[in-house]
């Protein structure tokens, strides 16, 4: 702790990425730029690691006085947890960018959004939240803008809608409470609600606006439409941060509305119950569940590796939202845990896709195959990521999903729990495809001279792969951390073993069993199996001849039957709905413009007369 004085912890965490980003932009030379960028991303991680003791036992606060508003930042165990996850993915992103990007522009804006995320996590009042929220959105938006105008526009419009809802909500809070501090505002609001100073509808509106604002960033269906494009049409190294951490800012927003502002907490009770569940949170749980199902189905059907990962991201964040909505200790603990594990495995995934795109220049499954031999280290990383995402022990992804599932069962939400199961099955379906289509099978001849991913990218992957295993084998580590800021009701027996009121998960024993099992299977395979080679294309045909266009190999149209089964549902697309809405408003704009500003000065004089008439009628009556 003596290494970094307490007063510098927060400003260093907040501003070093931005400052170094600007420097990298200014000194736009190879190596200089990358070095500066990596330093900028490394500072928060270092500072946060050093500040762990202080932050987990107390708080470090910091205030900036802009004169217009005072900006408060607090580093406590909650914000430390989120910020640390962010910083970890951030440094991985920086390593990745060193390989994939040669532009100062990218460094500037990706590090700008880094600063934005840190600000969002550390903010303790609404203005700082909004300010850094916008900074974060702006940085990520500029990254998309450079690559695709249409997708950036979609992202931007939805973000702006979210931002303005937040602004409106903040304004409404401030108007009634006169303060912008989370704690103060929520206390005052609670008091006012109790005394009847604020109507229920007013508070409901605030609540809804906040959820809208955070829902956009978290990509809750139907606000997710920006995500596939924005995640996909981007520098993939940056996407690891974008999808891994920026979406968590949305989650963090949900956490603020649900837990940091206890008055809103009180409002859930005021909103009444529905089948024994609090209506407000039940809605959130279902929003999450729908997100899980819809996004997972869509992910399964994608033919583009980036789209698949993007929809998968949306779906996985859906889990977190769902768990928050389940609203009991275990589920929320699981949500917090899943924030960690999702950031780790999805960040890893995107870095892998960055490596693939960098080395092959291809993005569609049909163009890949057999890369495991060419890029062995990347393949090992991919294996970890896939296992973790699919929720297979001993990876972090299993522990978190298990907790969420336990929580849902405890809360007597069988349907919600069912969606978790369905989502897991679907996740398995798409990661299998990712695993098989990309790494195994026949290798297209143009991929024969593919090389292993460059070193910085591999370093980045390693940074993210290790936590996947560590927190998988030692879930107690994470849960103990979470227990510091939230009473999860989960007992930590040891680093390796955690217990909920209904069950115990001993990661170490599971791992050991698994290793033993694998070893036996391996032995059986090596010594006992009577293996016969078959053609890869044969798997699905089962001997029946098929036409060429219905040739469903794992690399092409693999899940086409599923798509046909879902035909009816796929007709409806939120994307198209929004497109139509946009067209409608453009038509409205034209109508207004041509109709009102019609160029005839006499009509304009009539407008004046009408205003006079309104004044007159008011005067006469």
């Amino acid at each position: 702790m003596t290494l970094v004085p307490e007063a510098y912890v927060v400003p260093l965490t907040l501003f070093s990425p931005l400052v170094f980003g600007v420097l990298a932009w200014l000194f736009d030379r190879d190596w200089v730029r990358e070095t500066l960028g990596v330093i900028g991303a490394a500072v928060p991680l270092t500072v946060l690691s050093l500040a762990y003791e202080k932050a987990s036992s107390g708080t470090i606060s910091y205030t900036i006085d802009t004169g217009v508003f005072k900006l408060h930042f607090v580093l406590n165990s909650l914000s430390w947890y989120f910020a640390f996850i962010g910083a970890l993915v951030g440094i991985a992103m920086a390593f990745g960018l060193s390989s994939t990007s040669r532009r100062g522009y990218d460094w500037l804006f990706s590090l700008m959004s880094f600063t934005g995320v840190m600000g969002v996590f550390l903010a303790r009042d609404f203005v700082s939240l909004f300010l850094f929220w916008e900074l974060m959105t702006f940085g990520s938006f500029m990254m998309v803008l450079r690559r695709n105008r249409h997708e950036s526009l979609k992202y931007f419009v939805l973000s702006v809608i979210g931002a303005y809802s937040m602004l409106l909500a903040i304004g409404m809070v401030y108007a009634k409470t006169g303060t912008l501090d989370y704690a103060m505002a929520s206390q005052t609001l609670l008091l006012l609600t109790k005394m009847g100073g604020v109507s229920k509808a007013y508070v409901d509106t605030i609540f809804a606006l906040f959820l809208l604002a955070f829902g956009v960033k978290a990509g809750v269906v139907p606000l997710h439409v920006w995500a596939p494009g924005a995640y996909g049409e981007n520098d993939q190294s940056y996407t690891s941060f974008f999808s891994g951490v920026l979406s968590k800012a949305g989650v963090y927003g949900f956490i603020i509305t649900l837990f940091v502002m206890p008055s809103l907490y009180g409002i859930y009770f005021a909103m009444g119950t529905f089948h024994g569940h609090l209506t407000g949170t039940y809605l959130i749980a279902w929003a999450g569940a729908v997100t899980v199902v819809v996004a997972s189905f869509l992910a399964v059907l994608q033919e583009d590796i980036r789209k698949l990962l993007a929809y998968s991201s949306v779906g996985q964040v859906g889990y977190i939202i769902l768990a928050l909505g389940v609203f009991n200790g275990v589920a929320v603990g699981g949500a917090m845990f899943h924030v960690l594990s999702h950031a780790m495995f999805k960040g890893l995934f995107w870095l892998i896709s960055a490596a693939l795109i960098l080395r092959t220049g291809k993005t569609r499954f049909e163009d890949f195959g057999g890369l495991a031999e060419k890029m062995p280290v990347t393949f090992a990383m991919a294996l970890i990521a896939v296992l973790s995402l699919a929720g297979i022990p001993p990876m972090a992804g299993f522990a978190s999903k298990w907790l969420i599932y336990e929580g849902a069962i405890q809360a007597h939400m069988p349907l919600v729990a069912g969606t978790i199961f369905l989502g897991s099955a679907l996740a398995f379906a798409y990661v299998v495809r990712f695993l098989y289509a990309v790494w195994f099978g026949q290798r297209p001849s143009d991929l024969d001279d593919v090389r292993e991913a460059p070193l910085p990218l591999l370093v980045g992957m390693t940074v993210l792969a290790i936590p996947n295993i560590v927190f998988g084998i030692a879930p107690g580590l994470a849960v103990r951390l979470i227990n510091r800021f939230f009473n999860t009701n989960i007992t930590v027996n040891s680093y390796y073993s955690i217990s909920t009121p209904t069950g115990t998960y001993n990661a170490l024993s599971v791992t050991l069993v698994l290793i033993v099992g694998l070893a036996i299977a391996g032995l059986v395979y090596i010594y006992g199996a009577n293996a016969r080679k078959i053609k890869v294309t044969n798997t699905y045909q089962s001997g029946n001849p098929v036409t060429e266009e219905y040739n469903l190999v794992i690399r092409r149209n693999f899940y086409r039957p599923l798509a046909e089964a879902l035909d009816f549902w796929l007709k409806y697309s939120w994307d198209r709905f929004y497109e139509r809405l946009a067209n409608l408003s453009e038509d409205f704009a034209d109508w207004l413009r041509e109709g009102f500003y019609n160029g005839n000065v006499q009509s304009y004089s009539w407008y004046l007369a009408i205003i006079l008439l309104i004044l007159a009628i008011w005067g006469v009556l």
């Binding site: 041509e594 160029g599 000065v601 006499q602 004089s605 009539w606 007369a609 006469v620």
Partner: protein, 118 residues
């Protein structure tokens, strides 16, 4: 709702204003519109000056026999002087614009002078 009692002078001035506005709202010819605007201005000026009138008193020139108690309010008259000049200036500007418009568009029909719209 009762009919407000206003003097004949007010009524006349007000009528001029309304007649002028009517012209602006209905006439298609730009020159007629500009003339209507002038009528409005005249009406307003008359209104302004009649507000300053005090029954039975004379112009505020304090020469023989007219003291401060025998003169009407001088301020509206001073204001009207200014307002008239402003009206003249506006009309002059408007007319030169109309000349330019006629040169460029070949018409003074305001329904045809609509290149700027939307």
């Amino acid at each position: 709702m009762s009919v407000p009692h206003i003097g004949l002078y007010y009524f006349g001035a007000l009528s001029l204003v309304l007649v002028g506005i009517y012209g602006v709202l209905v006439k298609k010819n730009l020159l007629k519109i500009l003339i209507s605007l002038s009528i409005v201005e005249t009406g307003v000026n008359l209104l302004l000056i009649s507000v300053g009138y005090i029954t039975g008193r004379s112009a505020p020139i304090l020469s023989e026999g007219i003291g401060p108690k025998q003169a009407v309010d001088p301020i509206p008259q001073a204001l009207v002087l200014t307002a008239i000049v402003i009206g003249v200036a506006t009309t002059a500007m408007a007319l030169s614009v109309a000349i330019t418009l006629y040169e460029k568009y070949g018409t003074l029909n305001i329904e045809e002078i609509r290149r700027l719209r939307g």
